[in-house]
Amino acid sequence: MSAILRQRESALRAEARRDASVRTGDVLDARAFDLLCLTVACTLAVHFTHLPVSLAAALAALLSWRWLQRRAHRGNIPALLRFVLLAALPLAILMIYRTPFGRAPGTALAVGLLVLKLLESERPRDARMAVGFCCFVLMSALLFKQSLAMTLPVALALLPALATLRALQADAGTQPFSRLFAPGATLMLVSSPLALIAFVFVPRLPTPLWGAPGADVARTGVGDRMAPGDMRDLLIDDSPAMRVGFAGAPPASDERYFRGVVMWFFDGRGWMRGSTGTRDAAAQPVVIRGAPLSYEVTLEPTRQRWLFALDVPLSEPDGTHLDADRTLERVRPVTGTIRYQASSATSYTLDPALQPAMRQAALQLPAGYDPRATALARSWRAAHGGNDAAIVNAALALFRDGGFAYNLAAPPLGRDSIDDFLFGTRQGYCEHYASAFAFLMRAAGVPARVVAGYHGGYWNDYAHYLLVRQSEAHAWDEVWLAGRGWVRIDPTAMVRRMIDPGSNGQSDAGDDGGGWLTWQDRLDVVNRLWDRSVIGFDALRQSELFAPLGVSKLELGQLAAGLSIGMVAMLGLAMLVALRATRRPPRDALEIAQRRLQSKLDRCGLTRQPHEGPRDFFARCMLALPDNRAELAALARSYLSLRYGHAAPQAEPVRIYLREVRHFHARRVVK
């Protein structure tokens, strides 16, 4: 009976133990939960820029409510409420985005699910899962923007995530809050070389395995179609469009016209590239005066097929076609940051003899649009006869003196957009002016075309490049004048200069910009470095990197080998550090001498046992080696007095002892 009792008792004890471990180990403690909330908040924050305001606000509110609720008392949110929220989330996303597919709704759903996961995070296991999910959602923020300004916060948000994992360790309760961040921060710092090696060597996929990165809200640069109002978003966008590095001095600020797309066709509302005499014809001849300028362009993704070049490009970069009107055309759109070399003329005569077909294209106008503007242009032709230059001046004078104003918030225009603009609103920006001017010229019989590109730029004195922002997108005209070829006319300059005299010349700041500008300059150098070395580090750059080593074409195997060698080297290094630091402090000289003696005796089969003190060991040795008895007795005396006679053995006697040990030779008895 007592045996049964005993069994029951021990079973009870085991149960009690289990209960205790459940109580202490299986509930997420308050600090870990706080850190988890912080992690989720950081994740929400990096997604704030592209989440709809209503959804972001709702999720933030839900997050803070849950945090306060669990501070008050532990426990899950009622299942019913969780279920309702879980059902409401996809519905809300569907209502906001109108589609469940694509990058934006997908990430919104992920962020939402992450916040909902908090509602049922009660155990360490839940917290671990939530942290893993957090890392994934954090990464998805980079699908929207890869800039340094985005990547840094995302990387920093890993710190609370790692701190949460740290807080789940058994001893976390005894650690101060800040100490929980320490291992994550240190490890991230220490691991950066390994991370870099992996980054450099990981083979890039030549083609995506599944769907291309859905660019629902893709920012496009200057395109091949231009209607009044199209460029407005660009003009208020301060992000970089391209960076142009010059070997020497940059061109003067009023010569910084970067030609993008030449547009020939007007449909009554907007201008288009058209196809007449552009694509297949040979490039229009150009007579250069002065030395051409060489430069290197780093172009941000535009999702367009056009490359930009200063003024009149003379040659085409690799993989690009130089069209008849000196537009640089690519086969595939620019989806990543690209770099190319180009050379241009800034002083030239372009196409001195205009082909009839080109001339016809440059005079095309749709019938039945803008009667008043047509009439005005014809009146100029009548007044100035064959003098095309005078007609140009008349049009420019109209813009200068006709009460026109530069206004980004231009009122909308009706069907006869040119008439509305010239005789009605009289407000607009480059698109309006370039469009109206080209229309007037064509109506007056002067060949004209619209050029879209960038004008301006921001000379960075530290790194010798010109930063061109999206906001510097511009449209201007070219008219063909007999004997002068295509001449660039910028009608917008007529109005812009009057309102803001410095605005076109602002770009050549850098020397007079003051602290703010130089600070910006530096920041842009960093951004450019980031763009070039991280974002633009594709398969091509990867193989470029190894070109100096004689690797002309990088094979997958070579990359894999490099990756493994690099990783093994780094891990080995880390392991070496890990092992070395644990090496015990060196033993004192007496100990070293004694080890030496012991190894000599060991060779005679006399191994000191762990339980054996020195006195016993010496005694055993003396018995085993009668021939060495005297020597061993002396050694034993010295050792015992050196080891136990003083608090710390003196240097000189120890040295003598070491010498004696060195001279000691065991004479084995042959049995």
Binding site: L158, G184, T582
Partner: protein, 314 residues
Amino acid sequence: MAWLQALAAHAERRLPALTRGRKPEPLPVALHRRRIYILPTRSGLGFGLLLAVMLLGALNYQNNAALLLTCVLGATVVNSMLVAFRALDGLRLTRLRADTACAGDALTLHLQFDSAGRTRHALRIDLDGDATDFSLDARSGETTVAMPTEHRGWARVPRMRISCMQPFGLFRAWSWIAPSQDALVYPRPLSGPHPPPHAGDPQRRERGEDDYEQLREYHAGDPLKRVAWKASARNDRLLLRELDAAAADVPQRFEWNVLHGVDRETRIGRLAGWVNEAHAAGCGWTLVLPDGRELGPQADTAHYHRCMSALALL
């Protein structure tokens, strides 16, 4: 997971070197790289899967910022393995002291560690399904673990697993410690009839017969003449009249030979029970062992341990 444990047990039987579980070793036991093992935990495996997904996504979308982030996270996780390793590397178990306990109770082991100059957090010792968490400061530290016992006598301190999942719980570093040390387990005291009043004490003998004050259950070996038959009939089980022993202030005498008709273990248990009671009551006693050796009479704790040890080793 049961099959996994079975597999692990099988592997251990076939390859004892895997766990170094075969040979108990004398103290001090120092942990070093040849006996520290590391494997990812379940959440570590999950995290690895997550990293793979992140890597694939970043490569697919040709998103280098995401790739860099994945690389940083991956490198951090991989290096965290070394943190777990370092938490154990160089750790020395310098001393092991075992408390005493009766068979069936948990015995407390006091483990003294030398942390070799490094603070070590969140260490864990697993002993027979029981986990103990502790941390050590830079010099040394002590922790206690409970060791289950079954039989009296010398019990070998079982193999312990010392492990650490620092810092993120994604990897577990562990090592086996099997100190070649024994702990003494006392016999489990059994309740039974009071010791018969010893000879040579006329006072007690006179009072004896009519001072029965309470009833208790019958145990094998009890004298039949003390059975309270009437009370037993009422309760449907054998009940015994019991002496009031608390009044005794004379040293009692617990003799091996007094207990007849029960097996050896029960005898030992009874004697242990008497010793226990006497020690708890604070009165003196003499223990007479089967070989005739007499311990006592004494009443202090040292005497108690002497007696219990003697009984444990019978």
